[in-house]
Symmetry: C2
Subunit: 140 residues, 2 copies
DNA sequence: CCTTTATGTAACAGCTCTCGTTCCGATTTG
DNA sequence: CAAATCGGAACGAGAGCTGTTACATAAAGG
């Protein structure tokens, strides 16, 4: 599969907007991400639906953050662009006549939910302001 | 994408072997997982390479656990069957002429590594014996 | 040695997802 | 009305996963 890079692009786009004063067009953003403006607009559309950015059309149109970078976490961005990942279970339901097959999925769901929650807890501790701070430190 | 369900099958297979006294064939296992024996053998092959199961060919052949269920964690199973998931970054490298594009990936890798470590820490706390215990509790 | 049974694995088709692209309508400004 | 920009549909290319067939390899028993 072509690996899902929506989250990476979303963080990239949000970081760009956080570091820019003005509203920016999808074409300008695409220049930094090195992709097609439509790909950027798809990400921006998801972020807008989550209330993280605001976009306007027409001349002088473009996008800006809807909230301050301190109030946007990486978990917000992750949930905005990635489908709620149901824990990856069997494609075909297991054999219900087998004691293991009948109950394995509920056991799996419980563990995977805990693991996913731990991952999301880490993403929730990092804000967009942390990211731009790290970027400024790396730039020098 | 056809969602990756190797981890779910791996836990299922390992739980079956943990609850059976005897060596079991891939065909028998496939009956509980409800899939093709070759799919099961692919999982078993990965588990064998990780030193978690032992398989023998020929008449009376089949697979058994290589270690006691208390000494196999879900993290062991996860690492055995899932490619080392490099954090999902951009497909095309970002524009190096942009300060954000030049540094965003290293910042992303740092955060994603922490998030992945948190997830793996949860998987490491659950053993195959815990899984079979939950299965027995659900069955009985 | 030969038959039987089982694993190991390559090869292939079908499916789904993602991305990049083209295209067109809608909206805003002047 | 013209220009610029977003919104989003539609399509093809490419990649990964699963299920299947096919065949070589290996072990056990007569």
């Amino acid at each position: 599969m072509a690996r899902n890079c929506r989250f990476a692009v979303a963080v990239h786009v949000a970081a760009l907007l956080a570091m820019e004063e003005q509203s920016r067009t999808s074409e300008w953003i695409a220049g930094s991400v090195n992709t097609n403006p439509v790909v950027v607009r798809r990400i921006l559309s998801a972020l807008a639906k989550a209330g993280l950015v605001i976009s306007t059309r027409g001349i002088n149109g473009g996008s800006t953050l809807a909230k301050s970078p301190e109030r946007i976490t990486l978990l917000d961005l992750h949930r905005a662009v990635d489908e709620e990942e149901t824990p990856a279970l069997h494609n075909q339901p297991p054999n219900p006549a087998c004691p293991v097959g009948r109950n394995i999925q509920s056991v799996l769901v419980r563990v995977m939910d805990r693991a996913e929650a731990a991952k999301e807890a880490v993403l929730a501790t990092t804000t967009l302001a942390d990211v731009t701070g790290a970027l400024r430190a790396a730039t020098g």
